[in-house]
């Protein structure tokens, strides 16, 4: 290999080029400064930890969505999957603490199964994932309403809810450590490791050029299906945390799919696949959550929030979308 010309440090280049995390970090810092000015107390460790804990579900969803998006697909079903999971959990546990762990396992299996079905329909039947997961979204919402006669039943006992609601208290320095944050940290680390592994690299390659990947021995359909399964699992964990955080309701997952996709794109990941990092995706989700908190702190009128949100998303994506000129 011969170097044609030396260029600026490899790391900086990697961060700066499209798909790098620098833009989202910059946006995050700006928002943090704005929050700090308005609500200095928010940055105190205990409150920051709580914030991170409550943001864990959407961050995990973004990570799950990232796997699917970077492999060149979409998962529009995650929001409805979260709702279904929460409703199913409440009905199966029915306030009986002893059933917590079996149901948690069942939810994980259910999430993986939905991901598997999404993946197989997309890869084996060749239905575009936008349509597969849109159909799955309709099916899950319809089925869960049908199954519960339109009103969630049962209830989630404290044992189940503590994952999303409670924290390890009196931690030195940090004050408190929400269980959700612990789950997030562990899973985020796993996600990063996974993306650095052979699986992660081939996943990105599949998103970039599936034909080449196939001809290089990558089991393309299995890889993509695995991405959907990861997304389903992420939705299951998010559902466990969300159900814990706020209890059972049909609204539990409403709109989360768009939130997750927006977060992923904010994080510099390219829709269509082949580019972007999982860290960026998770930072994108954190940024969105921070934006909502910011609007609470600045008292942006409830009705105007969507406008502010829309404007900021467009602005942020526009900034991070600046690519090298193609001509």
């Amino acid at each position: 290999m011969q170097l044609v010309q030396r260029r600026p440090g490899r790391l900086l280049r990697a961060r700066l080029r499209p798909g790098g995390v620098l833009p989202i970090v910059a946006i995050l810092v700006v928002l943090l400064v704005l929050v700090g000015i308005r609500q200095p107390g928010f940055l105190d460790p205990p409150s920051l930890m709580s914030f991170l804990g409550r943001s864990a579900p959407i961050i995990l969803l973004a990570a799950g969505q990232y796997f699917v998006i970077v492999s060149g697909e979409f998962d529009l079903s995650v929001g409805s999957l979260v709702t279904a999971q929460v409703v199913v959990a409440a009905r199966l546990i029915d306030d009986d603490p002893a059933r917590t762990w079996p149901v948690v396992l069942l939810l994980l299996a259910f999430g993986a199964l939905v991901g598997l079905v999404n993946g197989l329909i997309t890869t084996r039947l060749r239905v575009p994932s936008f349509i597969t997961t849109l159909g799955m979204y309709l099916i899950l919402v319809g089925a869960v309403y049908l199954w519960s006669d339109g009103a969630p039943k049962g209830g989630l006992p404290e044992e189940f809810r503590r994952f999303g609601r409670r924290a390890v208290e009196d931690v030195p320095v940090l004050g408190r450590l929400p269980y959700a944050l612990l789950v997030l940290v562990v899973l985020a680390a796993l996600a990063v490791v996974l993306m650095r592994s052979d699986f992660g690299r081939t996943l990105v390659a599949v998103g970039d050029n599936p034909r080449t990947a196939h001809l290089s021995g990558v089991p393309v359909w299995r890889t993509r299906t695995a991405a959907f399964v990861l997304s389903g699992l992420a939705a299951a964990v998010a559902a466990i945390l969300l159900g814990g955080y706020s209890g059972v309701s049909f609204q539990a997952g409403a709109g989360l799919e768009f939130g997750a996709i927006t977060a992923v794109v904010l994080g510099g990941v390219v829709l269509g696949g082949g580019r972007g990092s999982v860290v960026g995706a998770m930072l994108g989700a954190l940024t969105l959550e921070l934006l909502f908190a910011l609007m609470n702190f600045y008292g942006v009128s409830g009705a105007l929030r969507s406008t502010v949100q829309g404007a900021i998303i467009l602005l942020a994506v526009a900034v991070s979308a600046t690519r090298p000129s193609s001509r």
Partner: protein, 324 residues
């Protein structure tokens, strides 16, 4: 080899019409067995009305999807258009034309914004139109507590409720718009260029197509169609309704109709005729389930299955064709 026979590029009747015919036949039988009538006048009229609303949006959506783009803001454009139209008319026939013009102009402006964000600012269409949708949602939420304005009686009587036999005027409008779109796609440079941009933007660009212009135009046309759907809904509802677009799920349903109609989500292949088939298929399923009083949630499950299955069938056929 060189002399191998090549089939000319057929633009065959999309398979969705086969599905439609089957659905109607089976539905007719089942409803009959249930003691009802699928094709009585009131049911047919209702079906065509549902199809007209969704159809207008879906035809516009077809244009952007063909060009490789997407519009998730249509639902909000529809709501906005009902309000602009109804508030400008304010119950008087005199203001009818200016109101329609203004509603369309506002819609076109949104389309222009979408188009510019996608082409000039180079934001992915999914995010760009989602973002514009949020902007509009904020506006609607802050300025409208509920229905506002009043549609001119003339429009209500004509576009809203007039019909020729069992065929509502609005459905004829849909057919006209579809015809125009079909014509534009197959007989104008814009149409050829749009399909090219959707097929491979780089090829189009290097062939001298002005991709940006073509896509912006498609977005404007899509929004105009959504605006037209809004005007139609205003004529049905008698007033402007700030949430009618989102409640109707016009964003996702229009995309579903386009894809069921055989247009590739990635762009470059398909057409508006199939889309109308897709719309009619969705509306027929609705009508049949309505007759059978099928639970709305069960219906949703079935709808999900049908959307996936229909597209799976296309994919299968495409695979076979590629293999043949």
């Amino acid at each position: 080899m060189r002399g191998l026979s090549l089939s000319p590029a057929r633009r065959a009747v999309p398979g969705v019409f086969v599905a439609l015919a089957l659905t109607l036949a089976v539905g007719w039988l089942v409803v009959l067995a249930d003691g009802g009538q699928l094709f009585n006048q009131s049911t047919t009229v209702s079906l065509l009305h549902v199809a007209a609303g969704l159809g207008l949006v879906a035809v516009g959506q077809t244009l952007v999807i063909l060009g490789g783009s997407l519009d998730l803001s249509v639902a909000y454009v529809i709501s906005l258009s009902t309000l602009v139209a109804a508030e400008t008319m304010n119950g008087s026939d005199g203001a009818l034309l200016p109101a329609v013009g203004l509603a369309l102009a506002v819609s076109a402006a949104v389309g222009l914004l979408n188009g510019l964000l996608v082409t000039r600012v180079r934001i992915n269409a999914f995010i760009a139109t989602l973002g514009v949708g949020l902007l509009l949602k904020g506006y609607l939420d802050s300025f409208y507590d509920g229905p506002a304005g009043s549609t001119s009686p003339g429009l209500v009587q004509s576009l809203g409720y007039q019909r020729v036999g069992p065929v509502p005027l609005s459905f004829l409008l849909l057919l006209a718009v579809t015809g125009a779109a079909w014509f534009a796609l197959s007989r104008t440079r814009f149409g050829h260029h749009l399909v090219a941009v959707g097929g491979d933007p780089e090829v189009a660009r290097l062939s001298g197509v002005r991709n940006d212009r073509v896509l912006v135009t498609a977005h404007v046309l899509c929004s105009l169609c959504a605006g037209l759907a809004g005007i139609y809904l205003a004529s049905r509802l008698g007033s402007g309704a700030p949430r009618v677009g989102t409640e109707g799920l016009y964003d996702l349903e229009s995309i579903a109709a386009v894809v069921i109609g055989g247009t590739a989500l990635a762009g470059g292949r398909g057409g508006v005729v199939g889309t109308v088939g897709g719309v009619l298929l969705l509306a027929s399923i609705d009508a049949i389930f309505n007759q059978l009083e099928v639970d709305a949630f069960f219906k949703q499950v079935i709808r999900g299955v049908i959307i996936i299955a229909a597209v799976a069938v296309y994919a299968r056929r495409a695979l076979r064709k590629a293999a043949a």
